[in-house]
């Protein structure tokens, strides 16, 4: 009986898409915004991006080696975390902040909770917030080259005029990856084209946020566009809110999640102490995901809702 054949339970075929190829496409989609950041902010931006990526990958490798776990750095997830973290740093951040952020993201937020797929919070954003709290001065110093002014959002909050066109192109102060709306949208188009994300989360997020800001701004279109183009909302909506692991899997839940994100970002931006609110809105909403999923279990095909709602 040596010529027995392979058996398996059906189905016996698999789609070509793998987790690794998804992560590779996300990496590719991040390149336009990262590239613009390097072009705009200069060599220090490139150094920071390389250090965050190296720090994330190295932390993952060392941890898994020490814990005798399979090495998963080949799946590109640590690369994506590193890139997103780097793109969330101001250009004036130092190399050791980048290293620290990478270690925190991978070790504390991702690996200690069980590695890929198990973290309850976006690792890159958690690390950004960790750095923001620990090194508030350096993390909110957005001066670059000879420019020492505030970000457009801070100007907006202070009631000063902003140049919307320049914000859309990205010729403004901010973190490395967030300034150019055009570059972010190119990346988003790649993700949509490859079917890696759909419009449910970013669409409802941006829509809810727009409605909120329209009301908060007294139906001033320029104010609304400035808020959509300024700060991390575009980058956050397309690349960070859509993080699979930390967003709901249920279709209705994704809509609810988008709405919560939009409202929270609006509240943080309008009433918060800082001009920005995307990062906090996303990590806060990450915590609500299990609850959202619990109440948005989809109705199965052919099932009629029983009277009295949820059974």
């Amino acid at each position: 009986m040596s010529d027995l054949r392979n058996v398996s339970s059906s189905p016996h075929i698999r789609d070509k898409m793998t987790s690794t190829s998804i992560m590779q496409w996300v990496t590719i989609a991040l390149i336009p915004a990262a590239g613009y950041g390097v072009f705009h902010f200069g060599p220090n931006a490139l150094m920071l991006l390389l250090v965050t990526v190296a720090s994330c990958v190295a932390t993952e490798y060392i941890y898994e080696k020490l814990m005798n776990k399979p090495i998963t750095i080949g799946d590109y997830s640590a690369v994506v975390t590193g890139m997103i973290l780097g793109m969330n740093l101001p250009v004036s951040a130092t190399w050791w902040m980048a290293v620290l952020g990478g270690v925190f993201a991978i070790l504390v937020v991702k690996q200690l909770f069980g590695g890929l797929g198990q973290n309850f919070m976006n690792p890159a954003l958690a690390a950004r917030c960790f750095l923001l709290i620990s090194f508030a001065g350096r993390m909110t110093n957005f001066s670059y080259d000879t420019f020492t002014g505030a970000t457009p959002l801070a100007e907006l909050k202070a009631g000063n005029p902003v140049d919307v066109m320049s914000m859309i192109i990205g010729n403004e102060a901010g973190t490395i990856g967030e300034t150019s709306v055009i570059a972010v949208l190119i990346g988003a188009a790649i993700l949509l084209w490859k079917g890696i994300i759909d419009l449910k989360i970013p669409g409802t997020y941006l829509l809810t946020f727009s409605v909120f800001m329209l009301i908060a701004g007294g139906f001033d279109m320029t104010y609304l566009v400035a808020h959509l183009a300024g700060g991390g909302i575009m980058f956050g909506a397309w690349f960070m809110a859509t993080d699979y692991v930390t967003s709901p899997i249920t279709p209705k839940g994704q809509i609810v999640y988008g709405v919560i994100l939009g409202v929270l970002t609006g509240i943080f931006r309008c009433f918060g102490a800082s001009a920005e609110g995307v990062s906090y809105a996303i990590i806060f909403s990450n915590l609500l995901v299990p609850l959202i999923e619990k109440y948005t279990v989809p109705m199965a095909f052919g099932k009629v809702k029983e009277k009295g709602g949820k059974k």
């Binding site: 059906s10 189905p11 698999r14 997830s77 890929l116 899997i249 999923e293 095909f301 052919g302 099932k303």
Partner: protein, 438 residues
Amino acid sequence: MATFTFKGGVHPYDGKDLSKDKPIAPYLPKGDLIYPLSQHIGAPAAPIVAKGDRVLVGQKIAEAGGFVSSPVYSSVSGTVKAIEPHFVSTGSKVNSIVIENDGLYEEAEGLSIKPFDEMTKQDILAVIKESGVVGMGGAGFPTHVKLSPKEPDKIDYILVNCAECEPYLTSDYRIMIERPDKIIGGLKVVLELFDNAQGLICIEDNKPEAITTMQKACEGESRIKVVVLKTKYPQGAERMLIHAATGRDLNSTMLPADVGCVVDNCDTITSIYDAVILGKPLTSRVVTISGEAIADPRNFEVKMGTNIAELIEAAGGFKSEAKKVISGGPMMGFAMFDLECPTTKTTSAITCLDKDDISEKPTTACINCGRCVTACDEGLVPARLAQFAERFDLDAFQAWHGMECVECGCCTYACPAKKPLAQMIRNLRRMVMANRKK
């Protein structure tokens, strides 16, 4: 209202070009024939021959073991060699009648039938029951049971399942091209049983020639029409087919008859024609032998009980190493560990793949991407159900509608982490069903 498609589903590589232009060729068996007594859902058939008996083609060798059961007929003439357990393609050992073929093909007397005009509904059902016809698409549910719903007047549609959404399979396609009149004839027999029903021949839009042929064949038939469905797996799944063709929905607690539908596979319909009009019991079926590892992919008219290894040889054998040989298609078929198995009433194809996706692609962690949710035609969340399955959480599994799963395998196919989602869900469904029986 008909939607012609359904939500979810996947588009695997279909491989139908390999065998779709190969006409159905009769194949005469060389070795012994094996007739498992359980080729259908329900009670096993009871043998009515003994070792040493001589049998003829079309002679009944086993009697139905109950109402939900089906008789078995010999497909050759020869001598009963043994009645002993044999492995079947699903991997289990089933008590079987082994017949040594004498190569003479002496025919027994056919089923006793009256001219069709003189038959009552009871007569038709009795002939179908006697002929051993079961659902030949794969499930093997005895057809006479399906055709005896409590209220036959409430059946509005008879759906002929010609979707053939499984990759590589072309047997239904060839039947439509070569035997359209038999499909129409068989469908008319079924329609005779249901006064208020309309016949719908459901075909996926990737088979334009079959659609034209069938449309031509049903010209002038007031009660029969062709429904063209979008090509997507699992279009041929009963619930999806009914939804696409009629817009009616059913769940796991319902039968198609509850929404006024009866679904029969296209080969089943032609077998009904053979039985009721020609008086021939079910002794053969069309089987596709295909896949990248097969030298000369073919469609054979195979006598029941024919050895599968023999069929593969008849299709030119393997041209490359067959990493996996599947009875049925790659989405829902059974992988066989041994080719020494008989063809049964439900063997629609033998698919021989030259690569094994399962052992070549390692499983990684779930990244919660939701592709399984998009792919699920039942609107479930397979990733969560699989998590519940991992920790045997039967309550959460049922609260998330796990029992609605039809095990089509779309989630497993779509999963980028290559997790065996459908398999894990299937496992837990079995546990829940076993608990319910307690």
